[in-house]
Every structure is written in C-alpha cells, then in structure tokens.
Amino acid sequence: MSFDVDAIKKDFPILEREVHGKRLVYLDSAASSQKPEVVLDAMDRVYRDHYANVHRGVYTIAEEATQAYEGARAKVARFVGAPSSSELVFTRNATESINLVAYSWARANLVAGDPIVLTQLEHHANVVPWHILAAERGVELRWIPLTADYRLDLSNLDELLDGAKLLAFSAMSNVLGTITDVRELAEAGHAAGAKVLVDACQWVPHAPTDVQEWGADFVAFSAHKMLGPTGIGALWAPAELLDAMPPFLGGGDMIRDVRLDGFTPNDLPWKFEAGTPPFVEAVGFGAAVDYLEAIGMDRVRAHEREVTAYALDALERRFGDRLTIFGPTDVDLRGGAISFALNGIHAHDVSQVLDEDGVCVRAGHHCAKPLMRVLGVSATSRASFYLYNDTADADALVDGLTHVEQFFAL
C-alpha cells in the first residue's frame, strides 16, 4: 500500500469544513491532532452499545466495557513496543505521566542536592514538575544547552550527568522539531547511574517507537496528539520499576484491599489508575493506534519528512532572509513542527491574517518559555505537519504568509 494522502484526508471529517470561505488547512497538529472517523465511531459505539463502568460489574456490558478498555491498553502497549501491557499505565496525558514520575518515583528516591538533568528545549510539562520538586525537596536542576543549529549540545554531557539521579528530555522538540538521540542519551544517563525519562509526546505520533530499543526507564505520551481523544495519555516503565514505586493518586481501582488501618495497592498497571478511568477515551486511543498501524509508522514518518522538506524549501525560496526558521533545516534531524519569525511581524498578527486564509498555525511560546528565552524571542509562529497534510497545505501556508507580509508591509 502506498501512502495516499488524499484518501487519508477523507478519513478526517473536520478537514472537509471551510473557514472564512476557505478550505481548512490545519497546521497545528503539534498542539493537538484531528480525529479520523474510525476513532469517533469507536468511542460512539462504546457509549451506545457497551457502556458500563469497568473492572467491577459481573453483567455482560460491564464485561464488554472492561475488555474494550484492556484491549485498548494492549494495542497501545504493542504500538510502542512495551514487553507487557501491565507496564502501560493510562494517565490523563503526557503531562500527568511526567507528574506521576515526579510525585511517585522522584519523591521516594531523591533527596536534597540530587541533580536532575533536563534540556533547554523542554516543554513546560517536563520543566515545572521538576521546579516544584526542587522547591520542595531541594534537588538541583541542570540544563543541557543548545548548539547554534538548534540541537542538544552534548559536549559537556559527562560533567552535567556527574552524580545525576534523573535525565529527562524530549524525543522531539515541540518548538524546534529537533529530534534527540534517545538511545545515546539513555545510555549516557544509565552510565552515570541516572534514571532516564523520555517525553515522547511529539515523537510517538510521528515515527516508529520501540521503548525497549530506546532503553529508557520512563516514556510519556498523549493520545490527542496521535489521532486519539483528549483526556488520556500513557506512561510506560518496566514492571520492576513500577512495582517499586509508591502509588500516585489514591482511590478506587488502584487498590487490592482497604482496611481501617491502611490499604494494599492493586497490581500493575491499575496501581497507578485511581478512580473510574477514561475507558471510552482509551477505546478511541486504541482505534487511533489501529489506524496508524494500518498505514505504518515508517510511512507516516517518510511522508512527513517529505512534506516538511517541501515546506522548508518553499519558505526559503519565497521569503529568503525575511523568514527565520528556529530549528534544524535537515529533515533527517527534525520532525514536522516548523517555528519561524517573518520579517519582524509578531506571531499573533501572522496567525490572525493566516486564519483569514483558513490556515491554522500556532502563535506564542508553545509552553516552552525557557527555550524562548534561549532563542531571545517572546513568541514564534509554528506550522506543524502531520500525515493528513500535503504539499498543497504547505503552499497555502506560503501564500498566506505573502498576504501577511503585504498586510503589514512597513
């Protein structure tokens, strides 16, 4: 099966709509992706035909709902190469996954002065939980800097990792598109005796993922960025690590026994899933994974690589020095999120005028204010491409930016 982007577009109902009388050109998948019909249908079917709370009922539809939920877990686990679905914890999103590690593992294992190594390109989700921990526990935060060509500067890595207890970094920057070498960093982290956490929120939707090959200890990602619904994400970690961690949130479902004088936590992965889980969303997550697998993640990556290269080239040819790209220009080193500044025009003005052409791009700090400070800007515009975007979408962006330039011409 070849990659048929026209057929893929037809699977996404929202891409048929118009905005301001123009075809919707959705270039904000790094913030959240659109949903194919099969995901919407799968969730609708649970609500209509199989809806009952999971893990408790003995009646037929409760059993069906439970099987659907656990079946979705198995799909997601397999999708990222987890050796067992008991190691795949459903969370609210990647942010909650990282917070789970910060509140459970880190608070049980780190003491004042313990170094945590982060990078300067992290999303706030992989910054603020550690700031909170630093304020509470006195851990030391260290930062891997960036090179002039927007990659991680690993020249002082050994020094930064000296004594480190945790190395936490993004597999792909949501701002720069930069791909980090997860395997290399995981090895370096482990060699220094640190645990390794990967924020894979921008990676898992866009390229094949094998958590075992990565060799990291914690991998966090969200469903809504990979064609699934909001409100559900995942944390993968090896069973022995999860077993040794204290529970995160307390409540129903996460317990084996509760007494007046205490409780016994449930088995993995439910030990970390307190309360009624988002099981309808989990089914949508599973359907999203089925959809992506049927296409093939290597094909998704190849397609996005092609469209990103086309867009970068078209931007360069149309605007030259008037447009600054914040990120690597080599598509082997980057994903489909393209941050840019156009001719001194503020990102919000760029986004506003593009909207008139039906083109959706993000404007702002992209939840990466430390990175914005490093770049020396307060905001950027960001166009991000996914499997349903084609070169016509890239052309719409470039043409729209010409309108922006004309509009704000000094």
Partner: protein, 164 residues
C-alpha cells in the same frame, strides 16, 4: 464573521508602523512602569512624568509585541499626553468600556447603562478604531495592556510610597 479590516483598521496600522512618543524619560523625575502579557510576550514600558499640577506633562513608550498591543500603546500615549490625571483615568474607564470590560460588571451590577456612563463626555477620537478588537476576544488583552499599565503607573505616580 468579522473580517480582518474590522481588526486592523488603517489608523491602527499607522500607529503600529509609526509609533508616537516612543523613547525614554529620565527616572526620576519620570516614573517607569512595565506591563506584560505573559501568554503572548507583549511588553509595554511607560515613562510617566506627572507634574505638580497633576498633569501628565510628558509620556514616552517602549516595548514590543503584536500590532494591536503596540498600536494601542501609541494611541494611548497620544490621547493621554498633556491631560490631567483625572481625565486620563476617565479615558482608561472609557477605553475599557469600549473593550466591554465594565468595572461594575465585575460586581454583578451591570445593567447596560454603565457603558454609556463610562463613555459619556469622553472623546475617544482615534481610539474608537480599536473597537473592532472586541470581535476578536483573544486580542482584547492585547489592546488593554497599555491601559492597565497606565492605570498602574498613575496609581504609583500619585502614591510613590506604595510602589516603593
């Protein structure tokens, strides 16, 4: 659906391209006040020189941000320069009313008459061009940043001890 011409009126683009009163004043005697919109990175810096008679004798603006925030700052500087503080405060209220932010609404007492009351007797002039911003709710905070910063600056100028 509102169009771009509702938001980016020609007078706004003119103030954006050629901001008035841009620069700095010596502190003291002038008072410096900064306003930020952390969500989009808009930044407004005001230098206010309020004389002994309570008149905004001079005012300079600085900062960076989107066209709406910077044009609104420039238009505010033109409107307020040379005016008594009391009149500047009236302008702030009137401008916020124009942006549909009524002080009384926060107390749940809005009956629709306060817009007229806030605007009564106040000549907004060019500032009325910013009214189109109301149709773009996300951008209202861009337009009001300069005015909130001015209000803070006037408070601090009149009561230096409180700001020290």
């Amino acid at each position: 659906m509102p169009g771009l011409e509702d938001l980016y009126r020609e007078i706004i683009l003119d103030h954006y391209r050629s901001p008035r009163n841009r620069g700095e004043l010596a502190v003291p005697p002038a008072h410096k006040v900064e306003g930020f919109n952390p969500l989009c990175g808009d930044e407004v810096v005001l230098y206010l020189d309020v004389n002994a008679d309570g008149v905004v004798e001079d005012l300079k603006i600085n900062g960076q941000g989107c066209s709406i925030s910077q044009a609104s700052t420039s238009m505010m500087s033109s409107a307020v320069k040379g005016k008594p503080v009391a009149e500047a405060r009236k302008l702030i209220r009137a401008f916020k009313a124009l942006m549909s932010i009524h002080e009384s609404k926060l107390d749940g007492e809005s009956d629709g008459s306060d817009l007229a009351a806030d605007l009564e007797g106040v000549k907004l002039g060019d500032l009325e061009a910013l009214q189109g911003v109301v149709k773009f709710p996300v951008r209202i905070k861009c337009a009001t940043l300069a005015w909130n910063t001015l209000a803070q600056g006037l408070d601090e100028s009149e009561n230096p001890a409180a700001s020290a």
